[in-house]
């Protein structure tokens, strides 16, 4: 059963790249307004989970329900229109587009997206550099652009893949503030993270992924008790 404010519900998801079987029955859900993380070691299948939701992998079985709609049979370009915004691990800034073109590229999927003014207010660097080639930006600016463009599209279910990876602490801090603000506005966020210290204070729940399975679920209030377990699972 799908309860009213469940934004993502995945059941027994298997995913394949060609012949390689990567996800082995993922079950997870994210409620409206929740910020949930997928933790796990490199290669555990967290990015593949996000890509499966976007229908960007080879083959999938199981069920992926978004906002009440079963999406397993939907063509890839229809998923975003359910209000999903995807920020890929490699950021996916287009080199042949300038900053503003990158920002304006994703079509509007819901009507109440952030205005360009609001986005430039949150990310003033992007305003300064709006006519630069997208890939000329620093890593941090590219990451902000990758998030900004899905906010402008109006997506209210965000899939964010390792957004803090390789960024300076001051930018990581800024991204943390942005996520808190988005959560305050009621957006639903599924966040893949390596940086547990970044994720812990802002997330409501955590899933730990290992070899394409969910091996542990940790709610915020269990965090302290389960920290040793998490340390073992994540190998930190």
């Amino acid at each position: 059963m799908m309860t009213g404010n469940e934004k993502i519900r995945i059941r027994d998801l298997h995913a394949f790249y060609g012949e390689s079987h990567i996800l082995h029955g993922i079950d997870l859900h994210v409620m409206q307004g929740e910020l949930v993380t997928l933790l796990g070691r490199n290669g555990s299948g967290r990015s593949t989970t996000l890509r499966s939701i976007m229908n960007m992998v080879g083959r999938r079985t199981g069920s992926i329900n978004i906002n009440g709609t079963e999406t397993l049979e939907l063509p890839a370009h229809r998923v975003a229109h359910l209000g999903v915004g995807f920020c890929p691990e490699e950021r996916g800034i287009f080199a042949s587009l300038n900053v503003e073109e990158n920002l304006m590229l994703p079509p509007t999927v819901r009507s109440d997206g952030m205005s360009v003014e609001e986005i430039y207010e949150i990310f003033p660097n992007l305003l300064e550099r709006r006519f630069s080639q997208g890939t000329r930006l620093s890593g941090g600016e590219q990451q902000m652009l990758a998030i900004a463009r899905i906010l402008r599209s109006g997506a209210n279910i965000l899939l964010l893949d390792e957004i803090t990876e390789g960024l300076a602490p001051v930018i990581v801090k800024k991204l943390g503030e942005v996520l808190v603000e988005l959560k305050r506005r009621g957006l639903t966020i599924l966040l893949v993270e390596q940086n547990f210290r970044f994720a812990a204070p802002i997330a409501d729940r955590h899933y730990v992924v290992e070899h394409g399975h969910i091996v542990e679920e940790v709610a915020k209030h269990e965090l302290e008790a389960k920290t040793p377990l998490l340390n073992t699972l994540l190998g930190v």
């Binding site: 229908n55 960007m56 370009h77 975003a80 590229l105 999927v109």
Partner: protein, 295 residues
Amino acid sequence: MASLFDINVFGLFGQLLIGLINGSFYALLSLGLAIIFGLLKIINFAQGALYMLGAFMAWMVLQYFGINYWAALFIVPLAVGLIGVIMERFLLRRISNEDHLYSLLLTFGIALILQGVFTHIFGSSGLSYKIPAELKGGFKLPFMYLPTYRAWIIVVSLLVCGLTWYMIEKTKLGAYLRAGTENPKLMQAFGINVPLIVTLTFGFGVGLAGLGGVLAAPIYSVSPYMGADLLIVVFAIVVIGGMGSIGGAILTGLAMGILEGLTKYFYPEASTTIIFVVMVIVLLLKPSGLFGKEA
């Protein structure tokens, strides 16, 4: 060979004009190829045959339906574009996940079929298409005589190439095209119907060839192999310019036409090979082409 000191100005400008006209066709065809290659990553071997088809269609609609040049100028590129849409949707898309060699062979097969069919029906000697009355005659310039129709070809082709360039480089639709060239999967994830864009792009790219065919009908003999001969040169031009750039395809097309014209004047023996010589030099020095991105 004329020495540099007794240049016959009339002869030189005459050859330059011919070069510029050839260059206009090169630009139209290589532009179409570059657009198609950008998004589909395939080399459309049928581009020459579709150019030929454009010329024949212009001839046929006039002959059978009395549709004149001006109407054909719009109808024929649309019809050829529609054929492209059907080709992409029902043939190329089926094998789009296979090695690109398959789609290349498919387009090559389509080219052979088209050429075969038209040879069968019309023979290979060629048909003639009259220059429309409005474009007959010419201008007497101080250094040369400029036939109106030739000027028209250059103007139309430059205009269409320029508009296409503008659309791709400066508009939102063009941004989709550029981004789709880089990362179609991510474009889909953003909610853009990439398969539809691919189909329309292919249609547009071959529509340019169709337009080239209509423009060519009144000055070249309309014959089944007119496109095949042209395409070989256009491929060399695409190699020279590099597949990466829309502006590059246009500029290289024009430049090679002019170079060919100049060669015809200064050293006619080399005029049919000069472009291939340039191709070899470019391949040796910058394999990705003059405007191509380094791999």
